[in-house]
């Protein structure tokens, strides 16, 4: 396991407010039948149409550059949205091509997903994406081996630590920037009756409790000097009322001294 000596710029705590721009591909990847369901797909389109703009504006207001994990098909379908992300100087990273769970695919199919997505992003950005986050669902060590062979320098797909660590792949290893469910907006807020998500059709969480949870977790990461990797989803946090949650969380972090906020790519370079 890699011991991180210090965070970039000698900071006590690292903050990575990453974004998953799944858009309609979240629904299409998990529920292929959604192709015949305009209302279900419209939730994902909202992320592109409105949520993304609000996230970009909020990050801009706080002077934050972060990492956007994007399925290749989303980049192909919405190039103007990707252009907005690039103009703001954020990092683009791969989040599958079709947003299909990696465990459902053969190694060849997984490699195809990675290569196609990389090409789709590279076509728009002019540079090779370095990061890979497996789409929602499962993956195996083979997935990370393929990611490493494919040329990705880091993954952000697992939950096994609160600092970056190297995953042993036998002949090689891959840097992992781990995340945590409680720092992801989707489990608190994503909803649809049919196809049902969450599967039990759970309630919308309390906005104020979620705000405080993200803030209290940050206090813990700061206390222990760790890497706070959050995940935000434009179709979820980007509503007129919920964007305030992101603002209040970033405001709380901004008031704390000696915090480094940046992209996964920068953190990976620092951890190498």
């Amino acid at each position: 396991m890699l011991e991180v000596k210090s965070w970039p710029r000698g900071a006590r705590c690292a903050v990575l407010p990453t974004v998953n721009l799944d858009a309609d591909q979240f629904w299409l990847g998990m529920f292929p039948d959604s192709i015949t369901r305009p209302k279900t797909l419209s939730m994902g389109e909202y992320g592109i149409q409105r949520g993304l703009d609000r996230l970009l504006r909020t990050f801009g207001e706080y002077g934050i550059k972060t990492t956007f994990f994007v399925p290749g098909l989303v980049a192909e379908r919405y190039p103007a949205a990707i252009e907005k992300i690039l103009v703001e100087g954020h990092e683009l990273a791969v989040h599958g091509h079709t947003h299909t769970s990696m465990h459902l695919l053969t190694p060849d199919q997984q490699m195809e997903e990675m290569v196609k997505a990389r090409e789709a992003l590279q076509k728009l950005s002019g540079r090779k994406p370095l990061g890979f986050r497996a789409p929602e669902g499962e993956l195996t060590l083979e997935t990370l081996r393929l990611a490493q062979q494919c040329g990705f320098t880091y993954s952000s797909s697992l939950y096994g630590d609160d600092r970056p660590y190297r995953v042993d792949l036998g002949a090689a290893s891959l840097l992992e920037i781990p995340m945590h469910w409680e720092l992801h907006d989707f489990p608190y807020f994503a909803f649809n009756y049919g196809p049902a998500f969450p599967i039990g059709q759970g309630r919308t969480a309390s906005y104020s409790q979620v705000t405080k949870t993200f803030q209290r977790e940050f206090d813990g990461y700061y206390q222990f000097g760790l890497a706070y990797v959050a995940q935000f989803t434009p179709q979820t946090i980007g509503s007129p009322g919920k964007i305030k949650i992101l603002e209040e969380v970033l405001e709380h972090i901004a008031k704390t001294e000696n915090v480094w906020i940046g992209t996964c790519e920068e953190l990976a370079a620092n951890s190498a």
């Binding site: 015949t36 369901r37 305009p38 209302k39 279900t40 419209s42 939730m43 389109e45 909202y46 149409q49 409105r50 703009d53 609000r54 504006r57 807020f189 909803f191 649809n192 009756y193 049919g194 049902a196 969450p198 599967i199 039990g200 059709q201 759970g202 309630r203 919308t204 309390s206 906005y207 104020s208 409790q209 509503s239 007129p240 009322g241 919920k242 964007i243 305030k244």
Partner: protein, 283 residues
Amino acid sequence: MTETFEKIQWPNQARCAVMLSFDLDGDTIWANGNRSYAGGEDFIRSTSIGDYGPKRSAPRILELLDRHRLKGTFFVPAKVVEENPELLQAIDRAGHEIGHHGYRHERFVDLTREEQKEIILHSQDIFQRVIGKKARGYRTPSGDWSRETAGLLNELGFSYSSSMRGDDRPYRTIIDGQITDFIEIAPKWDLDDFVQFGYNIFPAEPAGQDRISGIEHVYDNFRQEFDGYYRFGLCFVLLMHPQIIGKPGRIMMLERLLQHMKSHEDIWFATGEEIAAWWRTNH
């Protein structure tokens, strides 16, 4: 399609539009679910949750709207219209809008174009018979509509729909690649009272039998969402069900929310048809 941060012009220099919508489903949603059980068509307990809506909640809602001089938009399955003609006439007389919501709250994505058309036209006949006019607006019952429904509604002369989830202001629906006069006023799951409060042990509602949300928690969420719509000058669509929001404690929550909204002077409270007409003329 307006830009995300573009200032939207509303009537009378209002900053934000509010549509108070009520899906008066009655027992249809419960009866539809019950049909998948042996003998389910005779179940009376779950359907009684729905019966409460027209019987107890609707008069309470009408009184509240009247006291605040606000007009609501009621989307009503035509079967509920047939069964409650006096209530529907009272809603209509009070100046509220009545919109289409299927005959028995059918899931349109599961139906052929012909079947959809038959339900729409049959229900319009019932509206004509009971309230003397046809519905101008439509909200898709029970989940998704099909890829053909918007075109069908446009062809049948509907003015607008309030069915999708993809925006926070009205927009002109694109049908077969053409921008049309058929307006969409999209609501949100976050602002749907059934998602927060709807409950039954058997048949299970919601599917995973999650806990019933606390009233203060829901009030705070709705208020924070409204504050965001006000801040950005958008179209806030509250999607309520009389059987849910018309309970004694919850209707007081709704009244508090109305008071919060009315504490701003520049809110345009409007029906779906008024919003659609404004949008068609100005955007």
